[in-house]
Every structure is written in structure tokens, then in C-alpha cells.
């Protein structure tokens, strides 16, 4: 019985890796071999080279890196300040404000595409990287997560720092932020994975290479009518996924724990 279960677990694991294994096969072999399996066929990097030059992948990479960095930086600052306010300050309307923040957990920017497109148009920033990032910068989930974390930090530490003459923001920077480091790491990993992979809103709000992130570039690339060359498409697909995939393989434990801690976006 145990053996059977082990076999089933492994079989499922192989099944789960199959699409990726196929991608590696097709991407590292010449196009004629993409759909035929010859175990000893010679390997080639040609497909990556072609994909890299056919579509402006370097530009898309740069855009995605700028995008995720911009979003994460803004999220960290905004959510830290708001989380601190909710965790440690008494102010009028706090409960109501918090409830209004939580609304975004359900009504995410992902579904408000029609109106947000109109807003970006009115702001005159359509087809720009900030337009992709803006709706996600104030993250209800980040605020919620940091508020919960800050609340667990003993008030005595806070008061001790204040006795020594630290201001509100200094206390935040010197006491709260360092103690919440694991939460920041977890949130950061989840945020970067999410925005690296995000697609619907970026494709709506951008229409030129100059602002399009990788996911959109990949879609444009693989839906062109030049006849589907599987090898080149899989090479492009792997390039798009590679940074996250490599990071995941290197920091598996960190990833898994982060998704446990902050998985629900």
C-alpha cells in the first residue's frame, strides 16, 4: 500500500513536470525535432538566439524589471506607512478606513479594467509602465499583513525608543521595520511573482514595445501568423519564465514559506 502510494506520488510529480520537460526538449533542439523524440539528438541554442532577436525580448525584460521594482518599492513604502497607522495610532474613522481598505481584497484592480483604463486615459499616461503599476501600488493585502505583524511587536520596544527621543517615523524605521523583515521578504516574493506573471491589465493599458512587459511580449510573439515554430515559442516561453523559475529552484524553501505566509494576494 505504501509502495503504491509512493509510486503514485512520483507518477504525479512526473506528470506535473511534463510540460516543463517538454519545453526544455523543444527549446534545445532544432525545429524538426520539436515534435519528434530522438533521445540522442544534438542540442542547440539556436532557438533562444532566434527568439531573442525576433521579438525585442531585451526591451521586454527591462520593462518587466522596471515594473516589478517600481510596484514593489511603492507597495513597501505605502503599506508600511498605512499598516503602521492602523496598528499603532488612534484616529477618528480608523475602523471605517480599515474596512474600506479591506474592500480591495475582494474587488481587485484586475476586474476594474474598464474604469481604470478610462482613468489612465484621463491622466494621459496610457501605454506607460507607471500606468501598469499604479492600480496595484496601494495593496490592501500588504497593509493588512503589515498591520497584523506590527501589532505583534511589543509596545515596550516602541516606548523605549520614544523615551530616547525617537520620532514616530524613526521608531517605525528603527524598531518596526527590522522586526518585520521576514514578512517583508515573504510579501516581496509574492508580489514580484504576481507582477512578473500578470498579463490582463498590462495588455489592456499598453500598446507599444516600449512599455510592454514580458508576458505581453510573449503573447504578441506567439500569436503572430508566421506559422507556429514550436521550438522558438518554447524558447521564448522559457526565457519569460526563467528568472522566477531559477529563483524558485535556488530559494525553494524561502518561496514555499513565503507563499504560505503571504500566498493569498
Amino acid at each position: 500500500m505504501r509502495r503504491l502510494e509512493t509510486a503514485a506520488a512520483w507518477l504525479l510529480a512526473v506528470l506535473w513536470l511534463l510540460p516543463l520537460l517538454y519545453a526544455f526538449w523543444a527549446a534545445f533542439h532544432p525545429a524538426e525535432l520539436a515534435t519528434h523524440f530522438e533521445p540522442l539528438a544534438p542540442l542547440t541554442l539556436d532557438n533562444f538566439r532566434k527568439a531573442w532577436t525576433y521579438a525585442p525580448f531585451p526591451r521586454h525584460f527591462l520593462n518587466t524589471v522596471i515594473l516589478v521594482t517600481m510596484i514593489l518599492a511603492a507597495q513597501l513604502v505605502l503599506c508600511t506607512l498605512a499598516g503602521y497607522a492602523f496598528a499603532r495610532f488612534e484616529f477618528r474613522g480608523r475602523e471605517l478606513a480599515f474596512a474600506l481598505v479591506l474592500v480591495q481584497l475582494m474587488i481587485m484592480p484586475d476586474v476594474l479594467i474598464v474604469e481604470n483604463y478610462r482613468t489612465m486615459s484621463a491622466l494621459g499616461i496610457l501605454d506607460s509602465i507607471p500606468a501598469i503599476g499604479l492600480p496595484y501600488m496601494a495593496s490592501a493585502f500588504g497593509i493588512f499583513l503589515l498591520r497584523q505583524t506590527f501589532k505583534t511587536i511589543p509596545r515596550e520596544l516602541d516606548e523605549a525608543a520614544r523615551v530616547e527621543g525617537a520620532s514616530g517615523l524613526q521608531v517605525l524605521w528603527k524598531v518596526y521595520v527590522p522586526l518585520a523583515r521576514p514578512v517583508y521578504v515573504a510579501y516581496g516574493l509574492v508580489s514580484v511573482s504576481y507582477h512578473w506573471n500578470n498579463f490582463l491589465w498590462p495588455i489592456i493599458v499598453t500598446n507599444t514595445v516600449g512599455s510592454r512587459p514580458l508576458t505581453v511580449g510573449l503573447q504578441v510573439f506567439s500569436s503572430t501568423d508566421q506559422g507556429i515554430d514550436w521550438s522558438i515559442i518554447t524558447a521564448a516561453t522559457l526565457m519569460t519564465s526563467a528568472p522566477l523559475l531559477i529563483a524558485f529552484l535556488l530559494f525553494q524553501r524561502q518561496f514555499v514559506q513565503s507563499f504560505m505566509r503571504a500566498g493569498i494576494r
Binding site: W16, A85, M137
Partner: protein, 288 residues
């Protein structure tokens, strides 16, 4: 003074939240009562006309039905698989780390990339599915994504593959927090593993299951990326989902008022889910 300080800290986030969540949600509702403005005919108040059009729109009912089947087809399967995966990976399994990595990997891949890979599997004749089918069973070639009866199930299989590993994480966390004494006690009593799972583990995982269930349902309304690569919603909207239809109406047919009306339906669904989740969270407190 403290009042001011609290609000000051909150202001930057509040401006963005109001600007890109609360305002657009309210504007969507408002827009659904107006007609789409054109160069010759400006937008005007039409009352419930958009909703009447919605009720009479067969495509709307079709994509709503698709969403329902999509949720029903993917969520229970993904959750059951996730639970089994977590139990396996939590156990003394040979090469456990490798197996866990295999299960979790689809989670870090972009949906667009995943759809590209699965497109190959589903391609008639040269695709992996047809090849394996022909080789093992001599099965005829299927046009998996071109057949209205097969296309939705085909996308569902892919989504289960993508999501199960993600849900597994939450079960894994829950399993690791269960006291090991429970299993020891069951062993002493001579309970079978199946009995132990059915009477102890499964009930103790219930709060996690409810939590995952609600979040999976919310997700099922947001997952549309794969349609851009695999089917564009076709054939004949057989694989389209509500959010994808919103996208088409707004950005292909340029009927923003009707797109807003469709979005309102989406928002109502999400709000209902929010209420369910809130009630569940209230209950979760008692479990702790």
C-alpha cells in the same frame, strides 16, 4: 495631534486605493445606467436598459454558465489533489523535496507561458495528447480546442495543473501545525491510515479547506489569461469566461457602458463571496 499623524501616514495609500478601487467600482455602477457615448450621440441616462440587454444577451448567459462549470470543474479537483499532494509530501516519502518542487513549480510560471506549453499538448495530430492517444490506444485525433464540447474541460485540466500545487502549500502549513501526538495515539489504538485521515486529519483540515475554497472561487473569476493564447474564448464562446467577455466588449467592441454592466455582475459575485468569507473568518476564530 495623534489623529492628524495617523491620517497623514494613511494618506498616500488612501489616495491610490480610492482612485483605483473605490472610485472605479462606483463609476462602474454609475456607468451601467448610461448608454455608451459616441462622437455623434453623447452618453445619456438609460435607466435599466443595459440590464435588460444583459438579460436578453445569450452570450452573457453562456459565459456565466461557463464560469460556473469552470469553477465546479476546477476547484473541487484542485483542492482534492492539493490535499493528497500535501499528505504525500508531508509523509516520509523518498525524494520528498523533489516531489514537492514538482508539485509547486507550475505556481511560479506565468499563465501565458503555461498556456503556450499546453497549446502544444492540445494541437491535433502533432500534439502530445494525440500522439500518446494514438500510440497507446489507437485513438483518433481530436481537435481539443476546436470542439465546443471539449474546449472548456481542456482548459480546466490545465488550470487544475496550475493551481493544485499552490493550494497544496496551505494544506502543508496546516498539516505541520497538527500535533504529532494525534497520529501516535491513533497508531497505539491500531487505527488504519484511512480511518485516521477520515476521522481526524480531514476534519481538522476543514478550516483550511474553507479558506482555500473561497479563494479558489475568487480566483476562478480572475483567471482568463490562458484564453488569449489557447482559444480567444472560442469556438463560439464555448471557452469564454465573464472577465474575458468584459474585456472583449470593452476593448474589441468598444461598448463601455455594457462592459460596465457586465462588470457590475462580476462585482456582485465577488461581494457575495466576500460576505461568505467574512462569515467563515468569524467562524475560524473559534477553531483557534
Amino acid at each position: 495631534m495623534k489623529h492628524v499623524y495617523g491620517w497623514l501616514l494613511l494618506t498616500p495609500a488612501a489616495i491610490l486605493l480610492i482612485g483605483f478601487t473605490h472610485y472605479p467600482a462606483a463609476a462602474t455602477l454609475l456607468d451601467s445606467f448610461f448608454s455608451t457615448g459616441t462622437a455623434v450621440r453623447p452618453s445619456r441616462f438609460v435607466g435599466l436598459e443595459n440590464y435588460a440587454a444583459l438579460a436578453a444577451d445569450p452570450i452573457f448567459w453562456q459565459v456565466l454558465g461557463n464560469n460556473f462549470w469552470f469553477a465546479l470543474g476546477t476547484i473541487p479537483t484542485a483542492i482534492a489533489l492539493a490535499m493528497v499532494m500535501a499528505l504525500w509530501v508531508n509523509d516520509k516519502l523518498p525524494a520528498r523535496a523533489l516531489v514537492r518542487m514538482a508539485y509547486f513549480t507550475p505556481t511560479v510560471l506565468p499563465m501565458i507561458a503555461v498556456a503556450n506549453l499546453w497549446l502544444y499538448f492540445y494541437t491535433p495530430q502533432i500534439g502530445l495528447l494525440d500522439k500518446v492517444g494514438a500510440l497507446l490506444f489507437g485513438a483518433p485525433s481530436h481537435n481539443w480546442l476546436g470542439d465546443p464540447d471539449l474546449v472548456l474541460p481542456a482548459t480546466m485540466v490545465m488550470v487544475v495543473w496550475k493551481e493544485a500545487g499552490f493550494f497544496m502549500i496551505f494544506y502543508l502549513a496546516a498539516l505541520q501545525s497538527l500535533p504529532p501526538e494525534l497520529e501516535e495515539a491513533a497508531k497505539i489504538e491500531g487505527a488504519s491510515r484511512w480511518y485516521f485521515f477520515r476521522r481526524v486529519t480531514f476534519p481538522l483540515l476543514m478550516p483550511t479547506t474553507l479558506f482555500v475554497l473561497v479563494n479558489a472561487t475568487i480566483n476562478s473569476f480572475k483567471l482568463v489569461d490562458h484564453l488569449f493564447i489557447l482559444t480567444k474564448g472560442g469556438p463560439d464562446n464555448a471557452s469564454s469566461l465573464l472577465l474575458y467577455y468584459v474585456y472583449q466588449v470593452a476593448f474589441s467592441f468598444f461598448d463601455t457602458a455594457y462592459a460596465s454592466t457586465l462588470t457590475v455582475v462580476l462585482l456582485v459575485m465577488l461581494a457575495l463571496l466576500a460576505i461568505v468569507q467574512f462569515l467563515l473568518i468569524e467562524r475560524r476564530v473559534h477553531y483557534r
